[in-house]
Each structure stands twice: as C-alpha cells, then as structure tokens.
Amino acid sequence: MKLQKVTTNLLRAAGALRIAAVCVAFIACGTPRAIPPGTIQVDLEDTPTSTDPRFSTSAASSRVNELIFSSLVRPAGSGAFVGQLAESFERRGDTQIVFHLRHGVRFSDGKELTAGDVKYTFDSILDPKLNSPKRGALQHLKSIDAPDLYTIVMTTDRPYAPAAELGSQAIVPAATPPPAISEQIAPPGAGPFRMVSFSRDESVVLERNPYFPAAPNSPQKIVFKIVPDPTVRALELIEGVCDLSENNIQPEVLPSLATKPQLSIIKSAGTGYRYIAFNFRHDPRLRDLRVRRAIAYSIDRRAIVNSMMRGTARIASGLLAPENWAYSADVSTYPYDPAKARELLEQAGYPVLKNGMRNLRLVFKTTPEQLRLATALQAMLKDVGIELDIRSNEFATFYDDTLRGNFDLVSMYWVGVNDPNHYYMIFDSKMTPPRGYNRGYYSNPEMDRLLESAQITFDFDDRRKLYARVQQIAADDLPYVSLWWQDNVVVLNRSLQGFVPYPNGSLKSLATVTLTSPAGAEQAN
C-alpha cells in the first residue's frame, strides 16, 4: 500500500516535471535565435566609453573604433609607424613632419577625406574647451597646418624624434561636434565599417562602410556584445552565439574549448607587458637595490606562466617585446633563485631567521587572475622571508592608489606600446604623476639623460643604441620587475577564416576575414 502511494507520488512528480519541460520548450520555440547571414558576433568584456575617437581612451573603445576610423599612420608589428591615410611622410628639419594623404579616401557618408578633416580633428583635441583626454598625448604638438587638400604639416615645440606617433590619432570629418551624449553613434570614419547602433552595456553594431573595399564573403555586419562574465563568454563561444573572443577567455577554460570541433584557438606573440613596479618614495627599504633584486629572484615566473596562465605568455626581460625594433636582449635577467634572494636580503639586513621583511604592500585591480597572481607572489616572497600584504581594489580605488603613490608594489600591465619613447613617460624623473606614468618616483640621472637624448636623436641606429642602454639600466636598476609578455589568444568559430591577431590585440583583421557556412547562417533551435 505504502509502495503504491510512493509510486503514485513519483508518477505525479514526473508528470509535473514533464509539464514544466514542455512549458520551457514551448517558450523557447517561440523565440528562435536567428542571426542574419553575414553577421558575426564578437564578445567584449567592457562597454566602449566613447564612440568618438577624440574622446575615447579605453581598450574596448579602441577595439571598436579601429574598425571605423583610420589614422595618418598605424603601428606595424615592429612598433615602427607606417602610412595608413598617409601615402608617405617625411621629416622637414628637427621640428616638422609632413604627411602626404592618399587621394580618393572616403568617409562612410561618401565625403572625401582631406587635410582639412585631419587638421580639424587635431585642432578640436587641442581645444581646451573640449576637455579631450587625448590632449596630454599631443603636448609636444605646437601647430598643425594643411597647406593643400592632401598635405599635413605638424610642428613640434622642440626637436622630437617620435613625432610620427602623433599621426596615430583617428580622424573624424571636419565640423564633427563633440558627442552630446556618450551613447551617440560614432561619426563617419574612413575605416572598413560604420556604426549603426550603440547601446551602452549591451551592444555596438557595425555595418560595412560602402566606400571601403571588402572581400567577397566577408562579414557585412559585426555585433559587439558586452558580456562581462568570463564564463558566459566561453559558453557563448561553445553555443555558437559568439563567433570570436580575443584575450578575454580565462586560460583555464582554453583546454576545454580546444576540444570543441566548431572552435579553433589562435595563439600569437603579444606585446602586452605585465610587471611589478616599486614605489621609491613610499618605503625606504625598496630604495635598496639588493631588496628589489631579491624580490625579482624570488618570483618563479616560469611556474606561474605554465600553471596559472597555461603557457599563454612569454617570460619578459623588459617593457619592449622582442618584435619591437628597439628591443635589446643584452640585459640582466633574474631567473628564479630563492637561495640568492635570501642571500641578498641577508646582506640588506633582512635575514629570514630574524623575521625577514614585513609589511610590504602589493596593490592590484580586483580580477580573478590578479588575485591568483597576488596570492602566488605572496607565497613565493614568503619563502624568502618577505611578508607581502596584498590589497585588491576595484578599478577606481586601485587607480587612485597608484596615482597618489599609495603602494609599495603595484601589479600593472602596459598594452599598445609601440615607440620606445614610452620609456620616457615611465622612467624619466620629470614624468611623475600627474605629468606622466612614473608612479614609483624612480630617478636616475643617467636614465634621464639617455631618454631625453633619444627624443632628439633622429638617426634610427643611434636611437636604437640609446634605447639598448636604457633597457640595460632598467634591468639593472629594477624600477619594474618584468613578469611576462601576454600572448594574444583568440578563440573563434572555424567558419571565420583568415583572422590574424595583431601584436597589440587589435581586431582590425575582422575587416578582412571571410565567412564560410555555417557561421552567420540561420541558427534556429
């Protein structure tokens, strides 16, 4: 009797579950997930901050804007600049650089791009009333002139060797007003796509620029979807909703994604540089070179890269990756050697047996990867007698701490480093916040002299020699402990063919990829 009752209850429960399942299936059937042919979806972790390239600074904005706008020059894989809108460019004396524009380039609204548009773009950035965040990067640009429709002359306030980089600003049509609201659709650009919709925190939709040549079978539409959760980005790739995700899939998920027949993973050398910076002003102990070297020797980078990062990085010797034209391999390196680290600390007066060194504070931005890295560093430093206090903060607080010098060690990342003049911004003693990025208040007169000489040295080989010496000093002095150069990891649907990652993580290849079925074809349930 009891058994019969249990059976009846079980049957009832099964019936209820069946009804629920039918309801879910019914709801689902009513909403097919149709993706129009020729459309691809790319997942971004952050929303673009501005669609106007004169005002955008975030990585997400760059990824989208690079497909809409063009600039006078663009960085090649070596970090050197090559013409994009400029057919050619040359120096005229020590303070002028002249760009000759290509003829017949059109914005997506059909108007021809001329020197007037270039001049307007730069003038509007330099206009203090518009508060462009890009104004600081143009601090050496004294004036910009357009003597004819296809010539631009930039004059710098002093001899300035890295002047070509000034031309990397994306160009908007003349008379484009600053965006009245942040969700405004981007102005027309001369790149392969144009923006058709932008919904902050949701999506950005691009369509082909009708005036830009496109290969047959290339995507006609790109939907950038903002998906903040890394697990969900991976799930979207598996489900086939997302066609491509670059540098935003957690390394531990990659082996699982590699087993999916519809997905392929492209790994290529990247230039993103992860490092630990020391604060020379905050804690006098860190002014002792032996302490900084001990910390460098105590970090097992190889183990971190192989385990935490699943091999998606290269051990770094400095800011510049080997692909950069100014890279030098002739620098001091600090392979994992805890015994040497302990010896150096003992010499510095912090022997392990006498409690080593206490209360060093490492700050970093809260992300799962950063938290794991900080925990690993804490364990490694503890092994040599250094007690590391790790402080994880959300971005605004973290950023505030770094600007105020409220840290002993900070874990940070440089992305998009092209010209080696970046060394000036990070290591010249005059470039402390708010002027530059020397957040640790590092100062070395020889370094200053070399960096300032390199800015006024126009001979390519001489510049290379100066930066080789800069790299040697940086590796000896250790204002930064270099950790690794992050690989570019692209997970994409196999139906996307011809995607080539750029070293700086740019998605410009989306303009030249081709589609084979089934991606972009109708996907129903």
């Binding site: 249990v6 209850n9 879910v24 299936a25 709801i27 689902a28 009513g30 909403t31 997930r33 929303t47 901050t49 600074t57 203090p128 508060n131 462009s132 965040p133 104004r135 600081g136 990067a137 601090q139 965006p179 009245a180 609201i181 942040s182 969700e183 919904s199 902050r200 925190d201 949701e202 979807k225 903002i226 998906v227 903040p228 959760d229 697990t231 969900v232 799930l235 979207e236 598996i238 489900e239 909703v241 959300e394 971005f395 605004a396 607080t397 950023y399 505030d400 701490d401 600007l403 105020r404 911004m425 916040p433 708010p434 530059g436 990025y437 349930n525």
Partner: protein, 306 residues
Amino acid sequence: MIGYFARRLAAIVPVAIGVATLTFLIIHIVPGDPVTAMLGESAAPADIVGMRHRLGLDRPILVQYGAFLKGLAEGDLGQSIVYRRPVSRIIAERYPATLELAAAGMLVALVVALPLGFIAGSRPGGAGDIASMGFAIAGISIPHIYLGPLLMILFSLDLRWLPLTGRGGLAHLLLPAITLGTALAAILARMLRQSLVAVRESDYIRTAVSKGLTARAALIRHGLRNSLTSVVTLVGLQIGGLLSGALITEVIFSWPGIGRLLISAIGLRDYPLVEGCVLAFAMTYVVVNLLTDVVYGLIDPRVRYA
C-alpha cells in the same frame, strides 16, 4: 486606513533623504575620482581643473550636498557624468528591466516555495519533507554566480532550449528568473514549512479534523491562510536580497537593468548616477514593504490599520 497609508507615504521622505545622504557621503569618501577616470593619467593639469569646475566637483562638499538635496526636492537627480544625460531618464530606461527580472524572480520563488513548503509542512519527517528541505538547503547554499552558468550549460548548451544571455521575450527571462528566485524559494519554503508545522498543532485544525475533514483538507482550508502571513512578511523583507541578487544576476546574464548600471557607475565614480540607482533600489524596497502591509490585511482579516 487612509491615515495609516498617508503616514507611511510621508515616512518615505525622511527615508529617501537618509539614503541619499548616506550614498552621497559614501561615494564621496571612497577613493577615486570621476575626472581622472575619464581623462586618464596623461591629462594636462589644466584640463583636470577645467573638467572638475565644469562638473561642479571643485565646490566645497557641503555646497555639493546642498545642491544635490535641492535637486532631489525638485525631482532632479542631476546629470550623469559618464552618459551626459539626466540620471532620471537613464534610470527610467533601465528600471523596467530590473523590475521585470525581480518580479519574475519573485514569481519563480513563490511558484516553487508554496508547493514545496506545503508538502514539507503537511507531513513533517516524511519523504516529501526531506526532499523539499534538501532542495531548500541546496537553494540557499548555491550562489547566483554558480547557479546561473550551471543553468546555462543545461538549458542553453545541452538542451538548446533557452538563449544564454540578453533581454528579449519570455525565453530570455526564464534562466535569470530561476537564478534569482531559487534562493528566495528555498527561504520561503522553509518558512512556510515551519509555519504549517506550528499550525498543525493548533486547536482550530484539531477541531476541523474532529468535524470530519481530512488533515490535508483542514490544513489547506484553514491552516494555509494563517501560515501565509509569515511568508508575506518574509517576501517584503527579502526584496532587498532579491534586488542585491539582481546586481549579480544582471552581470551574469548581460541583463540591461539598473544593477549592472550601478556597478558600472561605481567603477567610473559617476556620482549622480550611483546616487540615483541606490535611491531607486531603496524606494523599491520601501514601496514593496508598504504593499506587503496591504496584502496582510487581505490575507488576515484580524489585521487593522490605525
């Protein structure tokens, strides 16, 4: 009754001022600055000064607070620093999505909790009780951030029944609603069970049974209604939990509500937007609790408003 509700409505004003003041203080005290976040490190000092002036951030904090309260009194939540649009308009655009998610989460919670709580409470110690309370413990223990992806794997990847993310029709709503409602369902089921167990021993249930009703019928006809008052109280109190759960759920499911808006606004130190979002959440909590009191009266005729 009208006087009671008028007093409750009037009490919303000091609550709103309190919440607004606390939010204003907290967001201004924590480190971080919207101007540096927008202009970046390489911005010229003059640009930073100019933008701070334009946004009114160079004024003394008390002056800023006074202007904020004055705007609030006039129904003006100010202009978002990041969006450069009125905060009230942005919230009005996003609020329906959060409300939709919270209402669906609540519906899921009630649909699951009422039968489970009843099954458990009508025969304590039985198989139904053990199974229901097993679900309750699992439901309370499993965090949104884990449950959401699990549901996605099952219903979107394996069964391919439901879309993974985004806001659209009912299909898009189902997984976020289940994710959001599960913990609440577990809490409500446990509460209903406890309540029913207590009611089972009451004299009026014994009387009903002695007059010929089955135990189950007596519990349904007479016990359930009494037990529901405690559930309704809990529903009102749990609205806060539901809204804070919506913050996480919106991030997981890329749901464009004010939870996600708030997280992004905090990151960018968009002061007016943070204040507006927190105020919207607080007012929702207050209004739902007021409605809870109305429902009391409908369920339990002994409740009188004075």
